[in-house]
């Protein structure tokens, strides 16, 4: 049954000449698990927000949206609020109450449920989610993944028929993201709740969804089953596909979509029928950089207060000059604290720091650039121009020198914009230019790829590589193993406040069983040479003809 539909829908934001959505024809059937994807700014968020009447999107709308066959405007607003639930991107901003219990009650109170009803429903949902331990906690104390689950629970309490989710996992770490997606699958399977999800990360979703809709420049490119979608993604947008499929498509023709693997298991099956050897002429990758130590931390201990647990204990780490080092590890292992120690924002209680061979007490912050997880916090002024000008003055650079940098990063056209009006990728580049005005020797990146779409990630990597070429050493804290695998020279793994291993990226990922890329998991312990990224496979693998037995 058709639940939600749009007929020749057009939408234009006020003061904007371009249409955000053009001629959208679209329908969601009951029980669907639909994924909406597309590059940033393709109109995905606008589309899903239009389905939620309460959000009162400002702008001009032409065309109709229907819920259960009746125009949205003709439906009972109470019913719409109840039956169409919406989860947004940032788990932090959606929470409105101080404790989990209050947060769960919030929606029900809005819709006038009685106390008895509320008590019963909360008991049910707490049981289903296993929230007992969270119920009386402050919402500010929850992890990102827990916050997003509380958001979801609070909406489920209203008994929605359809859940609309706008990049719900973009701000979560990979494990929390996976848990969240599986929770959605469970809701779809066990309760038949219809799901429409906007996402960039499709690794898990491909095998769960039953429809994939691609949006580009405000138009629907295609609307297909996952298997059929593969063909349509191929060539242009293949960065959206799961790595397993990307690997397949790098070597095989996409003619028969039915064979394309989505998961590690399917890929392993496919590879078992292949004969692959190492290319003999593989030139060892850039051995060009010298292992000269730039920064050395030894036996660092750190705790925030006397009575709290140590965050870093006996940590040692060496950063080489000119490298791009990634610091990986789960939540709460002390990654961000380590970055703060390196940045000189915190002083360790025990241990030595050596910079360029000299022992120092605290890092000199003038030598360091720090790109925060949230680049918006970087800007003090109303336009980029003013910001750069002030920074130039501070570091004794003329406007011309500053403009050189601006040109190098192609920011000329954005100079007069307010920082907050930039897109996620632009904002990062803008902050980076500001940092580079100070000529740092060491650049620290804190989770730079969070919430970026695949295209922006690649662009960002290019920018960082060029910064690195100019002689800047880069240390990055990240959860994004796939990104690290593609670009980083060495990886450090943190566990319980200590760096337990630092190795060259490929060695590191090849040795790990669980904390590694999908490609590595596919190729590890198989008869084919182990690789960690699709690119590596492309350069290192020599594919002979298919073994006859597999046909």
């Amino acid at each position: 049954m058709e639940l939600l539909s749009a007929r020749s829908l057009n939408f234009t934001y006020p003061k904007s000449s371009d249409q955000a959505l053009t001629n959208i024809d679209f329908n969601v059937n009951e029980g669907d698990f639909m994924v909406l994807c597309g590059p940033s700014g393709s109109g995905k968020s606008t589309l899903v927000r239009l389905f939620k009447q309460e959000l009162e999107l400002h702008g001009e709308r032409i065309g109709e949206i229907k819920y259960k066959g009746a125009r949205l405007e003709d439906n009972d607003p109470f019913l719409l609020a109840k039956e169409i639930g919406m989860v947004f991107q940032d788990p932090e901003n959606q929470i409105v109450m101080n404790t989990v219990m209050e947060e769960l009650l919030f929606g029900m109170e809005n819709l006038g449920f009685s106390s008895n009803e509320m008590r019963k429903k909360v008991a049910e949902i707490v049981h289903y989610f296993g929230f007992h331990h969270l119920l009386h906690q402050r919402t500010s104390e929850l992890s990102g993944g827990e916050k997003q689950q509380v958001n979801l629970a609070s909406i489920l309490l209203l008994d929605p028929k359809i859940l609309i989710l706008d990049e719900p996992t973009a701000q979560l770490d990979p494990i929390a993201a996976k848990d969240f997606i599986h929770l959605l699958k469970q809701l779809n399977d066990e309760f038949g709740i219809t799901i429409v999800i906007v996402e960039h990360r499709l690794n898990e979703l491909f095998s769960i969804a039953n429809r994939i809709v691609m949006l580009d420049k405000g138009q629907i490119k295609f609307d297909a089953k996952p298997r059929d979608a593969i063909k349509l993604f191929y060539s242009k947008m293949d960065a959206y596909l799961p790595e397993a499929s990307q690997l397949y498509l790098a070597f095989m023709e996409a003619k028969e979509a039915s064979n394309v693997p989505f998961t590690v298991k399917e890929s392993k099956h496919w590879l078992s029928g292949m004969d692959i050897t190492l290319r003999s002429t593989v030139d060892e990758e850039e051995a060009s950089y010298i292992n000269k130590t730039l920064l050395e931390l030894k036996e660092i201990d750190f705790r925030y207060a006397k009575h709290t647990k140590p965050v870093l204990s006996n940590l040692s780490l060496a950063v080489h000059e000119g490298e791009w080092l990634a610091i990986l590890g789960g939540n709460g292992t002390g990654k961000s604290t380590l970055l703060k120690i390196i940045a000189g924002l915190k002083t360790s209680q025990h241990g030595k720091i050596k910079y360029k061979g000299k022992k120092i007490k605290k890092m000199d912050q003038k030598r360091i650039g720090y790109l925060p997880q949230n680049p918006k916090l970087y800007f003090l002024h109303e336009t980029l121009q003013e910001e750069y000008h002030a920074l130039g003055e501070k570091h004794g650079k003329s406007d011309d020198e500053v403009f050189e940098l601006v040109k190098e990063f192609q920011m000329e056209s954005l100079l007069h914009r307010h920082p907050y009006d930039l897109s996620g990728g632009e904002l990062q580049r803008a902050a980076l230019v500001g940092i580079l005005i100070g000529n740092p020797e060491l650049l620290l990146l804190d989770e730079p790829t969070k919430g970026l779409d695949p295209a922006f990630k690649d662009e960002f990597a290019k920018v960082i590589q060029s910064v690195r070429k100019s002689g800047v050493t880069i240390v990055m804290v990240t959860h994004d193993i796939e990104f690290a695998a593609k670009h980083v020279t060495r990886c450090s793994m943190m566990f319980q406040g200590d760096v337990i291993v630092t190795e060259k990226t490929t060695t590191f990922l090849k040795e790990n069983n669980y904390y590694t890329t999908m490609i590595s998991r596919i190729t590890k312990d198989s008869h084919v040479p182990t690789v960690v990224t699709v690119e590596e496979a492309k350069t290192h693998w020599l594919m002979k003809k298919e073994l006859l037995s597999s046909v």
Binding site: K52, E54, L55, E56, P77, F78, A81, K82, G85, M86, F88, Q89, D90, E92, N93, Q94, I95, V96, M97, N98, T99, E102, L105, F106, G107, M108, E109, N110, L111, G112, F113, S114, S115, M118, R119, T139, S140, N151, S154, I155, L158, K340, A343, L345, Q365, K366, I368, G369, Y370, P372, K376, L377, Y378, F379, L380, L391, K394, Y420, G434, G438
Partner: protein, 295 residues
């Protein structure tokens, strides 16, 4: 503790505080006030072993001294001159009055240290929302924002320090200016982000109709008993006050300070009212110690 003083209905608890504050202000008699202060120290001890009170001890000491010293200097009304200091007469009446004001202030402060323990912000907001539902919701939202903004503020301070903008050194003027710049970033950023919070409220049906209110605090029979208890003793205190049994007359002539006849009756009533937390809470402590001994 699910059955101690704190477990009574917020409105009952609030009434207790109102009654005790009013009592502290009308029972202007040194013995009544001193007894009240001592009782309130015990209330503090039984509620949290005096941790909160300990934080406020300097404030209590300072204010008491302030009043004890200054009242006799400034209050020039009375009949019994004790000393003359710098051509100012120090009257016994004024000293007694200073003592009473000091006791009242200390009593009120000692009462308020228990207020945050007993009437937690949840209970306070619950009562607030009964009177001003919209405003209470704004307060709840703001309370939710506070930890978030603290986190953001410390992030902002870090990021800006790396840019060379900090409050760690420099002139006072510069420090204050930089501090305000941090708040300004917090303002712009948080207002931008808060649109999503508003959307999330609307998406869950906020503003469609009158909100209902989850009754986190059900009225139980024991609440009625305690309510009657508080009202009965409050009435007693008001009667005592009206009959001047619990007030020490300073003018036109100083009364005898000693308590006589009926005054003792009203004093016992007054102490019974204040020490309500002591036995409701103490009963639980006893119950547990017996229970554990039986094991």
């Amino acid at each position: 503790m699910p059955r101690g003083f704190r477990s009574f209905h917020p409105f009952v608890l609030m009434l207790y505080y109102i009654a005790v504050i009013a009592g502290l202000m009308i029972n202007q008699h040194p013995f009544f006030l001193l007894a009240a202060f001592i009782c309130l120290v015990f209330v503090n001890l039984i509620l949290d072993k005096g941790v909160e009170l300990n934080k406020w001890k300097y404030m209590i000491l300072f204010l008491s001294l302030f009043v004890l010293v200054l009242t006799p200097i400034f209050n020039q009304q009375g009949n019994i001159v004790l000393w003359t200091v710098f051509s100012r007469e120090i009257y016994l009446e004024a000293i007694i009055q200073g003592f009473m004001i000091a006791c009242t202030l200390s009593g009120i402060l000692a009462l308020f240290t228990t207020f945050s323990i007993v009437i937690t912000s949840d209970k306070f907001l619950y009562m607030f929302s009964k009177v001003f539902p919209k405003w209470a919701l704004i307060l709840m939202l703001a309370l939710r924002f506070v930890p978030l903004f603290r986190k953001r503020l410390s992030d902002i301070q870090d990021v800006q320090e790396m840019k060379g903008v900090s409050m760690k050194d420099g002139k006072l003027r510069e420090k204050a200016q930089n501090g305000m710049l941090f708040i300004q970033i917090l303002l712009t950023y948080s207002l931008e982000e808060a649109i999503q919070t508003a959307d999330s409220m609307s998406a869950r049906g906020y503003g469609l109709q009158k909100r209902s209110n989850y009754e986190s605090y059900a009225w139980k029979l024991r609440d009625s008993y305690v309510l009657i208890y508080i009202i009965a003793f409050s009435l007693l205190i008001i009667i005592g006050w009206q009959l001047h049994e619990s007030v020490l007359m300073l003018a036109p002539t100083l009364e005898s300070i000693a308590l006589e006849g009926n005054s003792w009756f009203y004093l016992i009533g007054w102490i019974s009212l204040i020490s309500l937390p002591i036995w409701t809470e103490g009963k639980e402590v006893m119950k547990w110690s017996f229970y554990q001994r039986d094991l």
